[in-house]
Symmetry: D2
């Protein structure tokens, strides 16, 4: 396999909708279910994840919070010092420095997790709940605090640039099911039921080396999954998805749907999805330890009515 | 031991400063050290922490983010919906709801972790670094991203209301070293080198049951540690401190120093400290499982130059 | 007239809706009109306003921006220093201190002006435009920048506490048309077509003297207009309304409608309305100069898609 | 005079400091003065300003608030809808749409006024007050609320592109005293004691026509004043300065001082200064009315401890 993978033809909208129906988990865990594919993670899976820890090394999978506007950061985070050690009216020798963080966290540059309410397809959320249940006062259902206790499980890193022998994928490149399975074979690891799929395209490395670029629709695009990986994730019963980039290939691999991966994952499957991870440090650690599976602990902030949260998912090897 | 513990006499400022000197770790890990007591956590400690996982159950130790102003929440978090499913200029059937979170996270109501730069005593930070190294552009040293890879270790919950047979401690009550050691004996657990000290006074339960109160200086106060617990934490080589409340007893147990615990922990010892945890759920889980030790994974947001971070520390039992 | 005005019986909802119809200006200035009662202000009115200036004295009618949470300030303004004179990477001896202001400006404590899009009644805005034209991306029509050039006119202060011989009205007191006309007579001034009605209840003085109180629905309430003043404002062709408080009497003087004045003014009449002015300084100035008419210049920030703006309206005497 | 004005040689730092001393107003109005050149505006000046109103037309001199990041807008304003007409728990048919504005208002793209505390030169503010009087809790002296009652006066627009016969000046072009006096002659108007100097370079027009550019130090620069205009402003006793751009020529016309105009105006003279006005609409109005003098009313928000404020200054012709 080389760095120039010919791109498969796009799916039609009808194909997309058929695919949507075929991977729909709306009845799998009952009408009241709000946890979706996290239901695949059982206590047994957690114990298995824990058993993977050997070196005791922890690695962040988050990008440092970015306060600098740029082509992929139109809403830079706001970080203000609210008090310095210059000041405290009552505390004498003891002084406190404090700060304020403001973040429109679903931006392309901010490592974050999506709640199931974050996405609607044809006015429906996961489980068929109405899109209108998210109002100007937040989400009435499937807010991010449904994941309040965090997500603990076995992470498997599939490293596509490593497979291809390149530092990073280029915008527009779509990773197919065949290539993902090839990565499993080459790395000697297999994604199983209840696992966390850590998917590396090298997006963040490309940003570090080449500078930021406009990776959204109408911009230069980004590398991501081909839609044919969706049935594979469905069969494998993946619990959570953790990509650098956001998993989407831009331009899209589906006609008329600019962002097909998100609705299939979030709305159809009810999958816990995160965006914009920094997988450079974990990829290097895996390379050193020659193993691509590890314990993951990912804890969103406990934000009632929120559509997601900035977070710092930790891999423990 | 009863619910009415007579309060020990206050320390003088001179006593405080002698204590400060006696627990100072500024030379323990070299002049460049920025990790302080986290140096106590070795890979062996992480493996030990991991080995504690049995039920595979995860429990959040965070308070839900609080956007409602109140006597203990003068800077309520800001949570704005920035886009609803009413709107997307280009995406057709796929719609995204997004939100903005703004948080002055060192507030009493917000579960957060402190960076070592957060606190100065007599114009010095941990290691003798100058307080002026925190400027209006943030911390030049010992910012929260020094903890970017998260903190993983063995947590030990010492549950003082349980020991006293009360639902929660009352404002102003100071927990002494003797009482903490008594809690260890009663619970059959012992804090050891590299451990995370999870300290429950029932602060959050009191808030849930009685409503919020002004617990700061000049207000009704709060229950916390007596200063005599500091040498004990120093001897035990505690790596991290996780209290409900913030560990401080208000009114203070030291003359002229309104907040004595923080400078002793952060400035003198270089201890990783967090504030305002919600220990109600973990206390109930421990009670059910009849064990008070568990794996902890605590990951601050990766905020460059920050004095701390909101976070959601997870206990895994 | 005494300080204890017996309260008139409430209007029914049907009466309210009939009143709404009777003062509706939706056809007065054409189907495309977005300026509403500001159409009453002609160049001649501006020249008349200008001719009132004698002493050349300017007076702010705004409350200082309030960053302290309280019963009437659940969303305190955020004011952060973003740079101090401690810091500039390139400017040598020249240093800049800068700050950030964040404000949820429609709060009861923040002097602000409402755009016509701010209010809907029965899913309609002024002119019959749909409430749904305000989306999560802001107002598509009648945003505050329709007032970008500011409002300049003749202000007439009617000072009800002065009339009653009290320092301020008490919560729940409703000022009727009769009383307003009595104030005109006593003060020797008359509101005419195109004028700005500056309406003082002493709300801010009460706050300064007694402390903040919860003046919203379900709270202690506030003094304001009786609904019978609406036809009077309609007949008089008032261009703009500038009250301390927000003009509403709480509890309401209409059954089933908690805030009747706003929909009648904004939705039915298309009136430029502002809230939460500080009329203490202008009242004192008028008293000194023994005249209750003056030039007003009120300039909202030029905020596209906004539902209003914080502002600092200026009286020039 | 042509569009290509040869640039005068730069001043040395020593020249700059001598100039600073020569225009220093620190003793002019007493040691406690905090109003600086606004002292030049007397009631007589206000009456004169008022007497200029003829057409009764009002014109905004503000740029619409800009929420889009760009080369001159690294801190875009934040504008969030906080409530739509979708929601009100208690109000039935009456619905309120509200929004939040957050603004780091000293940015190049935001029309704003500076407080005298905004700028330090060699650790001193106007009047010799220490730069350290601005702390992380804001300005202890000379905050923007010293201008709370607004600034009312006679504005004189000097339109340099009009003089040169160009649509706008190019970055780096410095306007000298000679050219300003030439503009006065050509326009038939004269800046006098207590006047507001409205200075047009066409900055905003260039932005509208060519797109935003990085106009700060190290960027492409901007057109502004030559330093030799400072003694002229001092002699003329200008009360306030209102430029498009910010009055600075970048690159600077002084060695070692990147921003020389601001310290001379604010720190030495105590001049009320504003930045980043939109003078396109007033320039067109003046052209139509063939007169370049008008009444100005400029009202900062009443922000305690603030270093300035966003505002919308209004010209009344």
């Amino acid at each position: 396999m080389t760095a120039t993978v010919p791109r498969s033809p796009n799916l039609s909208l009808a194909d997309f909708e058929a695919l949507f129906e075929s991977v729909k988990n709306w009845d799998r865990w009952g009408a009241d279910d709000v946890r979706g594919t996290l239901n695949y993670i059982t206590p047994e899976h957690v114990r298995r994840a824990v058993s993977l820890v050997r070196s005791g090394r922890s690695v962040s999978m988050a990008i440092p919070i970015n306060t600098v506007a740029g082509p992929d950061n139109p809403s830079p985070a706001i970080h203000h010092m609210t008090q310095l050690h210059d000041w405290d009216i009552r505390s004498g020798k003891v002084r406190f420095a404090t700060d304020f963080l403001g973040i429109n966290f679903h931006g392309d540059c901010h490592t974050h997790i999506d709640a199931l309410c974050h996405l609607a397809y044809a006015d429906q959320l996961y489980g068929g709940r109405p899109a209108s249940s998210v109002t100007s006062h937040g989400a009435e259902t499937m807010a991010i605090d449904d994941y309040a206790d965090g997500i603990t499980g076995r992470g498997v890193l599939l490293d596509i640039p490593r497979l291809r022998g390149v530092p990073y994928l280029e915008p527009g490149e779509a990773v197919t099911r065949d290539e993902i399975e090839e990565a499993e074979r080459v790395q000697g690891v297999r994604l199983e039921e209840g696992d966390i799929f850590v998917f590396r395209t090298g997006h963040h490395r490309r940003r570090l080396e080449c500078g930021a670029w406009d990776n959204g629709y109408g911009g230069e695009g980004k590398a991501g999954l081909h839609v044919d990986t969706i049935p594979w994730m469905h069969e494998r019963k993946v619990a959570m998805f953790m990509p650098d980039g956001d998993g989407e290939t831009v331009p899209s691999t589906v006609d008329e749907i600019l962002y097909p991966i998100h609705p299939l994952q979030i709305v159809a499957m009810g999958m816990a999805v995160s965006d914009s991870l920094n997988l450079e440090e974990i990829a290097a650690a895996c390379e050193e330890e020659r193993r691509w599976e590890f314990m993951v602990v990912a804890a969103p902030l406990r934000l009632p009515r929120g559509t997601g949260s900035p977070f710092n998912p930790i891999a423990i090897l």
